[in-house]
């Protein structure tokens, strides 16, 4: 049945496909089943500026195929990477269509400097991966150790995420069309109390503050019975503006194939996502339905011009259209939704005006129906052209390549906005209904803006050498590279204040790999990079790395072993840099900026001043990291694969405060940051795989990965603190700091004898904190900033694990992927969790609040209608263990028998049902652990079909 429905739905597309003449039949493996090469043969994978046989790789690299990334069905490729690559930590970003911005870390965080984010490389050039779709990606590899990253020189220290797009291969034309359609539902919505409970507890809060009740019994009855929706409204604002689910769809059409002269891969992808807002555009002329569409185009063409020359053109682009009612960003609306009490005002008043009052800036419903709409239009062009020349006539195995890349990114906003009138409704002394208006109604007016832009070009030249002399195999590469950003709003890892100037880096790299008897491998690689951000003469850095490997399974004593099919041990060590140091650009030069004003004359005339600026740092330089890595790769019993890597990274020359390095009597107008900081990071990655014999009808595979990275700040140049608890040194980067909560005060007697904050009246039921420090470095009986200490973990997990399994049998296939993290903390805060703060509402979290009766079991402080400065502040009380295990995706597919299909011209047809983020196990009951604020996390269930001819 389902099959029919699916076919019916995609009939127009199939008709279109029918027009395209098919090519000969071809055996295609369903892409949900992962085939693991056992033992690693000649399969090549992408390394920095090149490719290498997996067999002889001596560096730490993990890879994932683009086809794997298709399975979590989301609107952002970035969010799909979570857990897929051992060593890549992904803090998942927002699910708001088009605004995902996850943070990636390779092997955890290695620096507290400006950027710990990895370098992103698309087909050999700097680029932005977030606009790509899985269907155009052949492979993503994460380069982790020195041997893998040294060729990227001053940009490699944070690791490299290298994306390679698909290419055409010699063979008949393959046309492939995939359509996938599904629905997204929030995994969790915040749980707020209704008007009756709100009013009841508000009275309790007022009583706690020593104030009379605001709501009478009549009021409460109205709220409970819903008998007076105008003066006693009970609005579930989330329900008013969000729908239950929103559709998500993706259509891909691609062509690939080629002959000895031309090989091509062409792709058209259309992604559509509607977002969770209701479709107000249908009913309100001045609103619009939320839409997010992205169209990706790619044409990758390889041309063999002659025996000597070949050329390669890669063009990838995307057009992104986003439209939302009201603001483009949803954050302000979700902020209001989290704050607005259910009884604040009705959605609309009896006279048709929008409900509202002076306390809250708007009415969420009106914000979406009557403030117009906003759109953004982005276009990305990523293109490169390469010329290769085989120079065998000079010496055998030599070739040269010249390449140029142009990237352009532009995002403009076009909004049509207006404002509306909202009215509060009340009764006057005579009992008449009176409306008081707030705001002003205006007509739609257009606003145009540039939201973001960047433009850069790069040029590269390569010399490659690859030759085998008997038992000696030599591969060598030398290249140079220049990157120029003319417009750089989007320059990787820079801070906003400095983005208005062009950026430029020059550099080069070289690598020599020597393999002896297919057993002993030695590799030396190095990068040279320079940027204009450093002083003349100190602009270029040299980054060498060496690695060795031993394929023990090729030794005579293991050759032919049934237990050990493949065994390699490898080690690498080297130096890599990080130029994204932050701070003022060009800090090697002394600046003389304008400063504080002064006043002279009887008329007190303002005059300007110029002063020496922050002290220059003439020696400012890049961060450096010494990376050591030892790894083993083994294939056992023909079915089991093991990869284990252990690493230690020592980052140094991190730009850090000079507070402990330069005395203030020198009189500098601000101490320069100096390259003095250090961080140490240790960890490991392990992968264990199993799969059945490729030839069997029933196939099962399973892959478990786990990785761990824990860093420690070893030097930070911090100013002296008498309170040891305030030092960040010795803790991981990003360690959460706050007050240590000791539970809730139970009695006035306990309060009298305990430390507490000054100037705040503390009552039983308030949070009690540990008095750790004071101005003289000893506890002073006062709770303040001196008592802040490390609490819990950071928001970046120490442990990430993935479990990927699947099976196939006679056309049926199943695929499951679980991800888990631990060693991570998150804190609850803001209106969603803090009851009644800033005139906010109250959530279910507060039900078990402290009252004299519930004193023994309460896990929430006493309620207060005031802004309580003692209870609602960063402390361990609000911190939660954010560990989780999630079923990131599950897919069941069926591939139709080839014989039937070939009759109608299709070589393969696969139908599949896909679920994304179906299950989660965690310790936070208040919401989705990855979306505790703002736009909800989404669960997607979809149906898809892939046809190929």
């Amino acid at each position: 049945m389902k099959r029919k429905i699916a076919f019916y739905k995609f009939l127009p597309a199939l008709c279109f496909l029918g027009l395209v003449t098919g090519a000969g039949a071809q055996m295609v493996v369903p892409d949900s089943v992962q085939i693991i090469n056992l033992p690693p043969g000649t399969e090549e994978t992408y390394i920095g500026f090149g490719k290498q046989s997996k067999r002889i790789i001596t560096s730490a690299i993990s890879t994932v195929k683009g086809s794997e990334l298709r399975k979590p069905f989301t609107n952002s490729i970035a969010n799909t990477l979570a857990g897929r690559l051992p060593g890549l930590t992904v803090n998942v970003g927002s699910n708001d269509p088009g605004s995902a911005s996850p943070t990636l870390y390779v092997r955890g965080i290695n620096t507290y400097g400006f950027s710990a984010s990895p370098l992103i490389i698309i087909d050999g050039f700097l680029g932005d991966y977030t606009q790509l779709v899985p269907e155009e990606i052949e492979e993503i590899s994460v380069l982790k150790d020195a041997s893998a990253t040294a060729v990227y020189g001053m940009r490699g220290a944070n690791g490299v995420v290298q994306v390679t797009t698909k290419k055409g291969h010699r063979g008949p034309l393959v046309v492939s069309f995939t359509a996938q359609y599904g629905f997204q539902k929030p995994t969790a919505l915040p749980k707020f109390l209704d008007a009756f409970n709100y009013a009841n507890l508000y009275n309790e809060a007022l009583a706690n503050d020593g104030k009379p009740a605001l709501y009478s019994q009549t009021d409460l009855d109205h709220y409970r019975n819903g008998t007076d929706p105008v003066f006693h409204p009970n609005v579930n604002w989330y329900k008013e503006v969000l729908r239950q689910s929103a559709p998500l769809s993706n259509y891909t059409l691609n062509f690939s194939g080629g002959d000895n002269t031309v090989r091509y891969f062409l792709l058209l992808n259309a992604l559509g996502s509607e977002g969770l807002y209701k479709k107000f555009g249908n009913d309100f002329d001045e609103s619009a339905n939320p839409v997010y569409n992205r169209y990706n185009l790619r044409g990758n063409v390889d041309v063999t011009l002659s025996k000597v020359f070949s050329a390669q053109l890669n063009i990838g682009g995307s057009i992104e259209d986003k439209k939302n009612p009201g603001d483009l960003s949803t954050s302000a609306n979700f902020g209001l939704l989290d704050r607005l009490p259910p009884n604040a005002f009705p959605v609309t008043n009896p006279n048709g005006t929008f409900g509202g009052n002076g306390t809250y800036a708007g009415n969420p419903y009106a914000n979406l129906t009557s403030t117009g709409f906003s759109t953004s239009n982005g276009s990305v062009l990523q293109s490169s052209f390469k010329m290769n020349a085989a120079l065998d006539m000079i010496t055998k195995g030599l070739s040269a390549t010249a390449a140029v890349a142009f990237n352009n990114y532009y995002e403009a906003g076009s909004n049509k906005r207006k404002s509306y009138v909202r009215s509060s409704v009340s009764k006057n002394a005579l009992g008449d209904t009176v409306y008081t208006s707030f705001g002003q109604k205006t007509s739609l007016s257009p606003e145009e803006s540039v939201l973001n832009q960047s433009q850069n070009y790069s040029i590269q030249g390569f010399l490659n050498y690859n030759r085998t002399f008997g038992q000696h195999g030599i591969t060598a590469m030398a290249m140079f590279n220049t990157d120029n950003y003319n417009i750089n709003r989007n320059y990787p890892n820079t801070d906003v204040a400095n983005q208005s100037f062009p950026f430029k880096t020059n550099g080069g790299a070289a690598r020599v790999t020597y393999v002896n008897k297919d057993r002993y491998i030695a590799e030396f690689s190095a990068g040279v990079t320079g940027t204009e951000n450093f002083a003349d003469g100190k602009r270029y850095g040299f980054f060498p790395a060496g690695s060795i490997g031993w394929i023990a399974s090729n030794e005579s004593f293991l050759k032919g072993s049934k237990a050990i099919n493949f065994f390699k041990i490898r080690a690498s060590y080297g130096l890599v840099g990080n130029e994204a140091i932050g701070g003022q650009r060009f800090m090697f030069a002394q600046r003389y900026p304008f400063g504080a004003s002064y006043w002279f004359g009887t008329n007190n005339t303002l005059v300007n001043s110029i002063s020496e600026g922050r002290r220059l740092n003439p020696d400012v330089t890049w961060e450096k990291e010494k990376k050591a890595n030892i790894g083993i790769e083994a294939n056992l019993f023909n079915h089991i694969g093991i990869v284990v890597d252990v690493f230690k990274n020592n980052r140094y020359d991190i730009l850090a405060s000079a507070a402990a390095t330069l005395p203030s009597f020198l009189g500098f107008n601000g101490l320069p940051d100096l390259n003095i900081g250090t961080v140490e990071n240790k960890g490991f990655e392990a992968t264990l795989r199993y799969n059945t014999d490729v030839k069997k009808a029933f196939q099962v595979f399973a892959e478990a990965t786990v990785f761990y990275a824990k860093n420690k700040i070893t030097y930070r140049g911090e100013a002296i603190e008498l309170n040891q608890n305030l030092y960040r040194t010795g803790w991981p980067v990003g360690q959460t700091f706050g007050l240590q909560a000791l539970g809730l005060f139970q009695s006035d007697a306990e309060i009298a004898t305990s430390a507490k904050p000054l100037g705040i009246s503390i009552k039983p039921g308030d949070i009690r904190y540990q008095d750790i420090g004071g101005p003289n470095g000893v506890p002073d009986g006062v709770i303040d900033g001196n008592d802040v200490t490390a609490i819990g973990k950071s928001e970046t997990p120490e442990w990430t694990a993935g479990f990927h399994t699947g099976a196939s049998f006679k056309g049926f296939d199943i695929d499951l992927f679980f991800q888990g993290v631990t060693g991570v903390s998150r804190s609850l805060g803001g209106s969603r969790y803090y009851a009644f703060q800033n005139n906010g509402q109250i959530g279910k979290i507060a039900l078990n609040r402290w009252t004299p009766q519930t004193a023994a079991t309460a896990d929430y402080p006493r309620l207060s209608a005031n802004n309580n400065l003692n209870n609602y502040r960063g402390s361990s009380f609000w911190q939660r263990d954010a560990s989780f295990i999630k079923l990131r995706n599950a897919e069941i597919g069926y591939t139709l028998a080839t014989k039937t299909m070939t009759k109608i011209g299709l070589t393969q047809t696969r139908i599949f049902v896909n679920g994304t983020n179906l299950l989660a196990f965690d310790k936070i009951k208040e919401g989705d652990v990855e979306a505790l604020y703002g736009y909800p996390a989404l669960r997607t269930v979809s149906l898809g079909v892939k046809v190929q001819l």
């Binding site: 020359f309 020059n506 504080a596």
Partner: protein
């Protein structure tokens, strides 16, 4: 041939790409360099302005809201979370010092040293003025004068450091990282001598007055006034009594060598006299003791010798308005101790100290007081005009401005001195110019009288100068009666206390007199006021807060960071 051609093509390919690899350099420079600054007349002038901008304004001296007065027996700061409270608890040290100015004044000194290297008449480009000989001559003279303004300011910044730390590292050139190992504190004597010499030099070259548009620049009077205060401090007990830190290895850092105290007092007296006798300045006491602190032009101008200028703002009013006035936060509240220091005027020729044991005094404590009390302090039932409300202030228990309102005054008083009454804070619209007076004529009179009394008791000038202050128009207190040297000393000290209240003298005067342990270490008092009728009240003073003062607090501790790095610097005693 074909092969060679191919090689050529390949090599060409590489050449093209290599050439495109341009030299790295900054493409755009938007920052001024020192060369660009020093060659431009207006830019050099801007550098000097930057030097003035380093003058601190005492209104929000500590933690952004408290005055130094709240570290003394003059006032209690209302906000319990203000860092000034740590001062009163004795919870300040070489790492945490809420009143730390070491960094700022050394920054200011560095600015001055850079300016003096930069602003030389031969360096500054005056080509634009060469067409007009008169203007050119004026500009040349201005550049020459600027140097002395800078030297005065540098001397002032050094003095501010000396009064806190004793001997400090002196330098007349900008220091660099290379100077850290050799850095040492100069002796107190060297430090004082340096500032004194700089004052002499500046005084010789600075003008007596400026045209209206330049009002606020350093004058000859300012340089001499600084010297007067410097030498007064140098002659006082603290810098002549190293015994408070017995056993300290470097007494030369905290005290002058033993010598002729009388000569030191005489030098101080002479320095004050030099200001008083300075002709052509038009210096005179202001006829209005209230507006002297709220305006700096008109009748106030003749009394003001040097002031920190400011733009209009209402930040001070927001902090210090009584709690019952819109947006007021009580801020600096005068203590009962200060209020008690104002004398009671018995007749035109006689005044007595206030005495709680005197039933008449205790019943109507604010009647017949030295007018400066009412002009400096808001007392219960006195009128206050703020945020559009003009009404009697109610600091009695249960009153609009009294306890138990959160953040109401704890002492029973509010600050009036400096506060621009009439400022409307309701819509954040009102604002006023606040000038922080560093030197005014009344202080010089009292400097002179104090120094004179120490080496020439009975000299007629003592009474003359004290009475000048007491009999100011609008104050008109009876003249100071005769007395012994010690009695006169006490009277002068009390006169200083009331005349210069809240002007950041008390903290340093009590230290240099070495009365700080008894005064700054004693509890401060407030008053409980009970309303007994429509306009009748009873008053009961009470102990408000214990204060902490240990001998080490005579001087500030050198910041620990600097000591840790610059090993040559010595910490002050007992820290």
């Amino acid at each position: 041939m074909k092969t060679i051609k191919r090689i050529h093509i390949a090599v060409l390919l590489l050449m093209v790409t290599l050439v495109s690899c341009e030299k790295l350099d900054r493409e755009l420079e938007t920052d001024l360099t020192l060369q660009q600054v020093e060659r431009s007349f207006p830019n050099v002038q801007n550098m000097l302005n930057g030097l003035y901008a380093e003058l601190r304004e005492g209104f929000q001296e500590i933690g952004g809201d408290a005055m130094m007065a709240s570290t003394t027996d003059e006032a209690e700061h209302t906000n319990e979370n203000s860092s000034v409270q740590a001062f009163n608890q004795g919870a300040w040290n070489a790492v945490t010092n809420p009143a730390e100015v070491w960094t700022q004044y050394f920054r200011a000194i560095r600015k001055a040293n850079i300016f003096l290297q930069t602003a030389a008449p031969e360096k500054v480009n005056l080509d634009a003025f060469k067409t007009d000989q008169t203007t050119y001559g004026q500009r040349l003279a201005e550049v020459a004068r600027w140097r002395y303004e800078a030297r005065f300011l540098r001397a002032f910044y050094y003095f501010e450091l000396i009064k806190r730390y004793g001997g400090i590292p002196l330098t007349t050139v900008p220091l660099s990282e290379a100077d850290i190992p050799g850095a040492q504190r100069n002796t107190l004597q060297q430090s004082i001598q340096f500032v004194s010499d700089e004052c002499d030099s500046a005084a010789l070259n600075l003008p007596l007055t400026y045209p209206a548009g330049e009002l606020g620049r350093a004058t000859r009077g300012a340089a001499l006034a600084l010297k007067s205060r410097l030498l007064l401090y140098a002659a006082s007990d603290l810098f002549n009594t190293p015994s408070w830190a017995s056993g300290y290895a470097n007494p030369e850092l905290i005290a002058l060598p033993a010598g002729d105290r009388a000569a030191r007092w005489k030098a101080a007296a002479d320095a004050a006299k030099a200001v008083i006798d300075l002709a052509g300045t038009g210096y005179a006491l202001a006829p209005n003791y209230r507006t002297l602190f709220t305006t700096f032009t008109g009748t106030s101008a003749p009394e003001i010798i040097f002031t920190r200028r400011n733009g209009a703002s209402n930040a001070f009013e927001v902090i210090n308005f009584p709690i019952g006035y819109d947006r007021g936060n009580s801020g600096t509240t005068p203590t009962q101790d200060l209020v008690d220091a104002y004398e009671v005027k018995v007749s035109n020729t006689s005044a007595v100290p206030f005495d709680w044991n005197n039933p008449a005094h205790a019943a109507t404590p604010y009647a017949n007081r030295d007018p400066r009390l009412g002009l400096s302090v808001v007392t219960n039932a006195s009128s206050f005009n703020g945020s559009g409300t003009n009404r009697p202030v109610e600091t009695f228990t249960g009153g609009k401005d009294g306890q138990p309102i959160p953040n109401a005054t704890k002492t029973g008083y509010y600050l009036r001195k400096y506060v621009a009454e009439g400022t409307n804070l309701t819509n954040n619209t009102g604002s006023a110019i606040h000038s922080w007076i560093y030197f005014r004529l009344a202080e010089i009179y009292l400097n002179y009288a104090e120094a004179l009394n120490e080496y020439a008791p009975g000299n007629a000038d003592i009474k003359i100068n004290v009475d000048r202050v007491r009999t100011r128009t609008g104050v008109a207190m009876p003249p100071m009666p005769a007395g012994s040297q010690s009695e006169i000393r006490q009277r002068i000290r009390n006169e200083r206390r009331v005349e210069l209240a809240f002007e950041d003298h008390r903290a340093w005067d009590t230290r240099r007199w070495m009365t700080a342990p008894a005064i700054l270490g004693a509890s401060v008092r407030g008053v409980n006021i009970t309303k007994t009728g429509a306009t009748t009240f009873t008053y009961a003073p009470f102990v408000l807060e214990p204060r902490a003062f240990e001998a080490k607090m005579y001087l500030f501790p050198i910041p620990q960071t600097d000591l840790n790095i610059a090993k040559g610097l010595k910490q002050n005693p007992l820290w």
